[in-house]
Subunit: 333 residues, 2 copies
């Protein structure tokens, strides 16, 4: 195994977030499931947008947010995902490159426009996402650069990639290349409804050791094992996963390995402005910790710190240098 | 004179702001004049964007910001400005309509893309703008709906409209229609360099009473009269303007009429996050005060309150109901 050329490469749906604050009754009227991500088609996207209040556009995408967070923490990071050659595609590409991330996936010249997630943020800071995948659906196995994946210490994949069919093939191809090069493959389960759609395959990914490290929040974990009881889910997880991290919002996180389950407290936040990206940025911190050889506890603390920053403002991309923030909190490299 | 159907119609360049935080040395390296607005072509826009950090996209445009502020304060408001039929054009149209503003100007089907302002916000909260006018240049006199203008109590025009040649004709057409219907015409001088470009014409607009009310900040006023001395400029202004409001940032504002000059303090702000839109939102509050028959002092206080809200966050559009904010501060309707 040669020294990695990159610390972390993420593969995910390339999405621009369209974020508006709203009251809870808007979600009720629109039949939206608060806190979830729902896939929508272009017609529904237009209807939701027309009904939404004034919005701001900020680059998003789950794995993309994680990778930007990792770059902000100071590691070498790359992203693979598909936009169209349109205005929002240029916005996405600009923002991720300007954050210091290698991003070389060619944009689609034709087909659907760049993917958007219409995100409603309620006064409690919870976010409800309606995602039109658009060009993100056109991520193909041919977009996976074998040398780049083989040269990355960690390949990080989002569960959302299992929604578009070709992207799933890209995902599998990347995981195989990574393992052939003796690298680590990490996966986030993304969303409880996403788990609902792909439960058997996600379980198989863990059980077949296609995935070495899994991230999930409590809801996703319970959905994975179809139980309302966290302890039962954790017991099952211990059998299936080599290493998993379960995030529990203000209750902190649990690092679950076959040897032990370690609880790590959350970094307190004065006010949750917008929870979008909390899990993504937790993953960023944890992965950067691992890449640097930190122990699980310090890796989870770095994850919590990055998550705390991103939920204290609108949008899922960090607004300050996370490396500086980490230094100030005794978690620097 | 019939009862107005609309309280305020604004005419301006339709722009989407592309906002990034930066350090002062970026402005120096890029040869940017801090605090100003510079017009740029598409090549320069691409170069600035490539050099900028990750950004957020928020609808902007000076008069558009004012009109959104007026709508947020609860009056009936309309906007006239040109976008292209593209993604950012749809963003602009969505945001202004979702804010409750009538916006019926047809988008351009061909020609340059929707205008963008690349805005750099330094740690002191000052903003430096680089504007690619794009489709905004295609605002023509034919976009002015005579009935709509004649039915608006106040027609509000931005000085920036004097940059694109056809827009200037639209401006003049609208002002004539408004006066023929015995309505009020207000103008903001927009920017000291804009005044530099159009000084003689701006002076003529006031002296010929084409404009009834003028907004300017201290720099713009000094540029108008080519003097470094505020008192000399004010003395000249008293001769030329029927009514003018000079904004002075944290020093508050001066309402200058032929009878008196009244100083009104600013609403204090804990921290200026982003000064973009301060003047625009001041104008919103002042115009709404006037439209409701408030005196100059209360109108200026409402202006200061709206400006204080907008500079306390990123972007030039209000993030809360200004009507509620006004109520809470004893300035409700």
């Amino acid at each position: 195994m040669s020294a990695p050329a990159t610390d972390i490469i993420g593969i995910g749906n390339a999405i621009v977030d369209v974020i508006a604050r709203t009251e809870d009754d808007f979600l009720v009227k629109q039949g939206m499931h608060k806190g979830s991500m729902r896939l929508i088609d272009e017609t529904r996207a237009a209807a939701i947008y027309a009904a939404m209040g004034p919005a701001v556009e900020i680059s998003g995408g789950s794995a993309a947010n994680t990778i930007v967070g990792a770059a902000s923490l100071g590691v070498r990071a790359g992203f693979v995902g598909k936009v169209k050659h349109d205005q929002l595609g240029r916005v996405f590409a600009h923002d991720i490159r300007a954050a210091g991330v290698q991003f070389a996936t060619p944009p689609a010249g034709a087909g659907p426009s760049t993917g958007r997630s219409y995100i409603l943020v309620t006064p409690d800071g919870e976010r409800t996402m309606n995602t039109y995948l658009g060009a993100a659906q056109d991520l193909h196995p041919s977009d996976i650069d074998a040398d780049a994946i083989a040269g990355a210490a960690i390949t990080y994949l989002e569960g959302y990639l299992w929604d578009p069919p070709h992207a799933k093939q890209a995902f599998v191809k990347a995981a195989k290349i990574a393992h052939a090069a003796e690298r680590c493959v990490a996966l986030t389960l993304s969303d409880a409804f996403c788990v609902e759609r792909h439960r058997a395959e996600f379980l198989d990914l863990m059980r077949s050791a296609m995935v070495d490290l899994m991230f999930a929040n409590e809801h996703e974990l319970k959905s994975l094992y179809e139980t309302a009881d966290l302890n039962s889910a954790l017991a099952a997880l211990r059998q299936d996963a080599r290493l998993a991290v379960i995030t529990r919002s203000e209750k902190g996180s649990l690092v679950v390995s076959r040897e032990a389950t370690e609880a790590v407290p959350a970094v307190p936040v004065e006010r949750v402005v917008d929870a979008t990206g909390a899990g993504d940025l937790f993953a960023a911190g944890f992965l950067v910790g691992l890449a640097r050889g930190a122990d699980y506890r310090d890796s989870a603390r770095l994850g919590s710190l990055a998550a705390a920053e991103v939920i204290s403002h609108l949008g899922a991309r960090p607004q300050c240098s996370l490396a500086t923030l980490a230094q100030e909190n005794g978690l620097g490299s």
